[in-house]
C-alpha cells in the first residue's frame, strides 16, 4: 500500500494557502451535479455537510440518532482552543501549533497541525456569527480559560456545555440547508458498508433503524465523520451509540486504519460503581483551573478529607510539575493518579480515586463565582455521586475518553481509498499520541468548515467518474453480504446477552490495553479477545427480528466489529515498542516513570491494511518528518 501524505512542500506557514491556490476548483454551476454522502452530523460531519451544500453540492447526510442535533459532540464540556490572544498573554498561531504537536508527543504531522492552528481563529469568528454564546467578560468581550498542556488562556467556552453550543450552531447551519433542499437528511440510519466501484467510493449501504430495511445510496464521494471508537472499552465517556463500524467497513474496503492503540485516558472522570454501569461521566478538564488534585501522603489513610491536615496531603501534580501544576496534559495526570492509587494512597471505598478539591477556590472567589463557571458539572456530579462537591472534594479517577487513532487520511483528508474521506474524531490526523484538551472540537470544525469543502473540490474536479446508480452490481453484492451477516447474528440464539459479552471485551481492553501496557499482557489480551470473538458467534442472543426497530441487533453488529477491531488495537500496541503520549509501554519509561519515546525506531504513523478474513493485517509506516519543531523529551516540570 502506498501512503502518500500529499503534504505540500515549502515553508510551514504558507503551505495551506499555496495548496488551496493550487487545488483544482469546481465551478459553481458544476457543483450542483455532484452528490456527496456525509456520514455523521457531529461537529465534523454537520459542518462539512452544511458548508458543502452552501457551496452548491448536493449532500446526503446520515446519522444514527433521531435528529442530527444529538451527535456526541453535544457532550463536550470544557471548551475550544484558538490563538486569538484576547487575554494578551502572548499567544500566537505558532504557539498553538507548538503546544498541540508537543502535547501529541511528536506523533502527528507538522503540516496538519499547523493548518489546524491557522484555522482556529476563523472557527471562533464563524461560530460567533452563527450565534454560539461563548462566555463574555463584563465589558462585553470574550472570556477565556486555561486548559492542560498550555501556559496561556486560549480556550473559549459556553458554561460547561461548549460542545452543545457548538453543535447547536452547526445544527442551525445544517437545518438551514435541509430547509433549502441542499442537504437530504437521513436520521436513524446505520452505515454498515461502503460501496466501491472502479476503485472509488461511490456509495453506502445502510440499515434503517426504524424499519430494519437495508437501503442503498450512491454518490460521487463518501465522507465518514462517525466519531471515535472509545466504546471498544465498553465503559467510556462516549455516547452509547459510538461505534467503529463505518470505519471498520471502510478498512475492509481498503482504507487503512492508523494508530489504533493511541487512546486517551482522561484523568478526571466520576469513579466506577457497580457492574450494571453503562457509561462513565467526565468532569471537564476545565475544573483543573480551580480544583486541586491530591491524595493523602500516607498509604491507607482513610480519614475523611476534611480531617486530613494540609501537611499530610500530597498535591502530587503541583509537587512534581511546578510549571504546569494541575494543568499538565491528560496522559501525565492520568498516569500519576494511577501511580498514587497503586501505592495504596487512593481514596474512597475502592481506593481507586483521588480528590479534586475546590475548597481553596471557593474560599478565594466565593461559591457564586465557582457556580457560574462550573455549575452544571457540579450538579451532574451531585446527581450521580449523591455528594455535594461544594462541600466535599470530588472523587475522580481516569477513564477512557477519546481515541487519537482512526482512519488514515492524507493532507486532503482522503483515506487510502479514492473518493473516501474521513473527518473529525474518526480520523487519526492531528493529535498524535495524546490530544490536548479543547482541541478536538477545533479539529472537527476545522475539518468540516474549512478543509474538506476545498479539498473535496480538488478531488471531484480531477476525476472522470462514470454515472453509477444503486442498481450497480457492487451495491447488490454489498447488500447480500450484509444480509448474510445479519441473518447469522439473528440465528445464533445463544445464552449470553450482547452487553454481557461487551463488558467482558471492555474488561480485557482495560486490563491489557489500558493505562499501562506490556508485551506479555498484550499477547494474552489478543488471545482472549480472539477467543471471546469465537464465543460471541456461537453464544450471543439477539432477540426480535432484523426487519424491525431492534436495538439489540444494533448493539450486536457494533460489538461484532469491536471484537475484530479490539484485536487490531492490541496488535498495534504490541508493535509499538515505545511509550508515547497515551500509549504507555511499561518497558519504555524514564527513571522518573515518564513515557520514553524511541524516535529512532518509532517516529512514524502505523497504518494497518486489511489482508482478508482471518489473515494478519499488514503494517505500513508513514515516516513523520519534522522540519519546524525539534523533537525533545516532553517535559512539564
Amino acid at each position: 500500500m502506498q501512503l502518500n501524505s500529499n503534504v505540500p512542500s515549502g515553508p510551514l506557514e504558507g503551505k495551506w494557502d499555496r495548496y488551496k491556490f493550487d487545488l483544482k476548483k469546481v465551478n459553481p454551476a458544476n457543483k450542483r451535479k455532484f452528490e456527496v454522502i456525509v456520514v455523521g452530523t457531529g461537529l465534523a460531519g454537520g459542518s462539512a455537510a452544511a458548508t458543502m451544500a452552501d457551496l452548491g453540492y448536493h449532500v446526503k447526510n446520515f446519522c444514527i440518532q433521531d435528529t442530527p442535533r444529538r451527535a456526541h459532540s453535544i457532550a463536550a464540556q470544557g471548551g475550544i482552543n484558538a490563538a486569538k490572544n484576547y487575554p494578551g498573554d502572548g499567544d500566537s498561531v505558532y504557539n498553538l501549533f507548538y503546544d498541540t504537536i508537543k502535547g501529541g508527543d511528536y506523533r502527528a504531522r507538522e503540516a496538519n497541525v499547523y493548518r489546524l492552528a491557522q484555522n482556529a481563529n476563523a472557527i471562533i469568528d464563524h461560530c460567533v456569527a452563527t450565534g454560539v454564546p461563548f462566555a463574555r467578560e463584563y465589558g462585553g468581550l470574550h472570556a477565556n480559560r486555561s486548559f492542560g498542556g498550555a501556559q496561556v488562556s486560549r480556550t473559549f467556552y459556553a458554561r460547561g456545555q461548549t460542545g452543545q453550543q457548538l453543535l447547536l450552531g452547526v445544527y442551525g447551519q445544517l437545518s438551514r440547508q435541509i430547509g433549502l433542499g441542499g442537504v437530504e437528511m437521513y436520521a436513524r440510519r446505520d452505515i454498515l458498508d461502503i460501496v466501491i466501484v472502479d476503485g472509488c467510493a461511490r456509495g453506502v449501504i445502510c440499515r434503517n433503524l426504524v424499519t430494519g430495511e437495508i437501503e442503498r445510496h450512491s454518490a460521487h464521494a463518501v465522507v465518514l465523520a462517525t466519531g471515535g471508537y472509545d466504546n471498544v472499552y465498553f465503559l467510556s465517556t462516549s455516547g452509547m451509540h459510538s461505534n467503529v463500524s463505518a470505519c471498520w467497513a471502510a478498512y475492509k474496503k481498503g482504507a487503512a486504519f492508523a494508530n489504533p492503540c493511541y487512546t486517551q485516558i482522561h484523568p478526571t472522570c466520576i469513579t466506577v460503581h457497580g457492574d450494571y454501569q453503562s457509561k462513565l461521566t467526565l468532569m471537564s478538564e476545565s475544573l483543573r483551573n480551580d480544583g486541586r488534585i491530591w491524595v493523602p501522603k500516607k498509604a491507607g489513610d482513610n480519614r475523611s478529607p476534611e480531617q486530613i491536615p494540609e501537611n499530610e496531603r500530597d498535591y502530587y501534580l503541583e509537587r512534581k510539575y511546578p510549571s504546569f501544576g494541575n494543568l499538565v496534559p491528560r496522559d501525565v495526570a492520568s498516569r500519576n493518579a494511577k501511580m498514587a492509587c497503586d501505592e495504596g494512597r487512593g481514596v474512597g471505598n475502592t481506593g481507586l480515586a483521588v480528590y479534586l478539591d475546590f475548597t481553596e477556590a471557593i474560599q478565594r472567589d466565593g461559591e457564586d463565582v465557582i457556580r457560574a463557571k462550573y455549575g452544571n458539572l457540579f450538579q451532574m456530579y451531585d446527581k450521580i455521586q449523591d455528594e455535594d462537591p461544594y462541600k466535599v472534594p470530588m472523587k475522580i479517577y481516569p477513564a477512557i475518553h477519546y481515541v487519537m487513532g482512526g482512519t488514515w487520511v492524507d493532507y486532503n483528508l482522503m483515506t487510502t481509498r479514492n473518493g473516501l474521506f474521513c473527518l473529525g474524531g474518526a480520523n487519526f490526523s492531528d493529535h498524535g499520541a495524546n490530544r490536548l484538551g479543547a482541541s478536538a472540537l477545533m479539529q472537527g470544525l476545522s475539518d468540516g468548515y474549512f478543509v474538506l469543502p476545498y479539498t473535496i473540490g480538488g478531488y471531484l474536479a480531477t476525476q472522470s467518474l462514470t454515472d453509477v446508480d444503486t442498481s450497480h452490481q457492487a451495491f447488490k453484492d454489498s447488500e447480500t453480504q450484509l444480509n448474510e451477516k445479519l441473518n447469522k447474528l439473528m440465528n445464533i440464539n445463544g445464552k449470553r446477552t450482547v452487553d454481557d459479552i461487551h463488558k467482558e471485551l471492555g474488561h480485557y481492553m482495560w486490563e491489557y490495553c489500558g493505562m499501562a501496557r506490556n508485551d506479555a499482557g498484550l499477547k494474552e489480551g489478543i488471545q482472549k479477545i480472539s477467543a471471546l470473538r469465537e464465543e460471541f458467534w456461537q453464544n450471543v442472543n439477539v432477540t426480535g427480528s432484523s426487519k424491525d426497530f431492534n436495538q439489540t441487533l444494533e448493539k450486536g453488529y457494533r460489538l461484532a466489529d469491536y471484537l475484530e477491531f479490539g484485536e487490531l488495537l492490541a496488535r498495534d500496541a504490541l508493535t509499538r515498542e515505545e511509550s508515547c503520549g497515551g500509549h504507555f509501554r511499561e518497558e519504555s519509561q524514564t527513571e522518573e516513570n515518564e513515557a520514553k519515546r524511541d524516535d529512532e525506531n518509532f517516529c512514524h504513523v502505523a497504518a494497518w491494511e486489511y489482508a482478508g478474513e482471518g489473515k494478519t493485517p499488514i503494517l505500513n509506516k508513514e515516516p513523520l518528518v519534522f522540519e519546524s519543531v525539534k523533537l525533545t523529551q516532553r517535559s512539564y516540570k
Partner: protein, 255 residues
C-alpha cells in the same frame, strides 16, 4: 446516601412498530442498586427479558449524561420523572423505594407519534428549526469575534435559552401539547444576540407557523412545561417569543 438494593414492579407501555395501539405489561425489576440510573435499571430489566426470550423494551438514549436530549419517558405521570431539573438518564434509583410500582410510558402528543414501546418521533422539532431557527452565515466571511460586544448579562440570558436540549418533555407535559417553551427558548437565544437581530422577525414568524402546522397546540399558561423541563428553561422565554412574534407581525416587510 448509602447504596441499597431494591425491587420494583414496572408497568411498561409496549407498542409494536407500525401499530396504533399498545398496552401496559408488568415486569419485575429485581435487586436494583440505588446508585444505578433509571436507564441502567431498564438495561438490567432488558437483559433479564432477553435471557427469557422476551423482546427487550425499546427506548431512546445516547449520552446518558443529560445533554443530548434523546432520552425521555413519562415516569409515574411525570415527563423525565418527578425530580426537578433532571433528564431521565440522570434520574437515579435512590429516588425510589423498595416495593414501589412504577409506570413507564412514552411522551405523548399529537405531533410526536409513538415509533415503538417508549420511542417517539420528535422530528417535528427539526422542522421548526429548519424553518428559521438559525442565523444565516457563510463559513469564512465572519468578522472578528470581538467586533460585536455582548454584555455579560445578555449573554447569560441568551445562554439560558440556548441550553434547551430538544427533548420534548415540555410538549409531553403540556395539556395542549404546545411547543411554545421549545420554540421560545430558541427564539430568545437568537433574538437576544446582536448577530441574531437581522433575521429576528422573519424567524419568529416562520417558526411559529411551522409549529402550528406540525400539530402542536396553543399555550394557555399552564406552566407544566416549565415544571417538567430538565434544563429549567423558564417561561419568560415564551413571553419573549410572543413579543418577537407580535412585533414581527406589525413589521409587514418581514411577512
Amino acid at each position: 446516601m448509602e447504596e441499597k438494593f431494591i425491587n420494583l414492579t414496572l408497568k411498561v407501555w409496549r407498542q409494536k412498530l407500525g401499530e396504533k395501539k399498545g398496552k401496559i405489561e408488568t415486569y419485575q425489576a429485581k435487586n436494583i442498586s440505588t446508585d444505578a440510573s433509571f436507564l441502567e435499571m431498564l438495561d438490567i430489566v432488558n437483559d433479564d427479558l432477553t435471557i427469557k426470550g422476551i423482546e427487550p423494551i425499546a427506548f431512546d438514549h445516547d449520552c446518558r449524561e443529560g445533554i443530548c436530549g434523546m432520552c425521555g419517558q413519562v415516569v409515574n405521570g411525570y415527563a423525565h420523572g418527578e425530580e426537578k431539573g433532571t433528564t431521565l438518564c440522570q434520574l437515579h434509583m435512590r429516588r425510589f423505594k423498595d416495593g414501589d410500582t412504577v409506570f413507564v410510558e412514552p411522551f405523548r402528543a399529537k405531533a410526536f407519534k409513538v415509533v415503538k414501546d417508549l420511542v417517539v418521533d420528535r422530528s417535528a422539532f427539526d422542522k421548526i428549526i429548519q424553518a428559521g431557527g438559525y442565523i444565516t452565515a457563510k463559513a469564512g466571511g465572519a468578522p472578528d469575534a470581538n467586533n460585536l460586544p455582548v454584555t455579560y448579562e445578555t449573554c447569560e440570558l441568551a445562554m439560558n435559552g440556548a441550553e434547551c436540549i430538544g427533548c420534548g418533555a415540555c410538549v409531553a407535559a403540556c395539556p395542549n401539547a404546545s411547543a411554545m417553551l421549545f420554540v421560545g427558548a430558541k427564539i430568545s437565544h437568537l433574538a437576544l444576540l446582536p448577530q441574531g437581530r437581522p433575521e429576528a422577525a422573519k424567524r419568529a414568524l416562520a417558526m411559529v407557523r411551522t409549529m402550528d402546522s406540525c400539530g402542536f397546540g396553543n399555550c394557555s399558561n399552564e406552566r407544566e412545561c416549565e415544571a417538567s423541563c430538565p434544563k429549567n428553561i423558564e417561561i419568560t422565554n415564551i413571553a419573549r417569543l410572543n413579543r418577537e412574534f407580535l412585533s414581527a407581525g406589525v413589521c409587514s416587510t418581514a411577512m
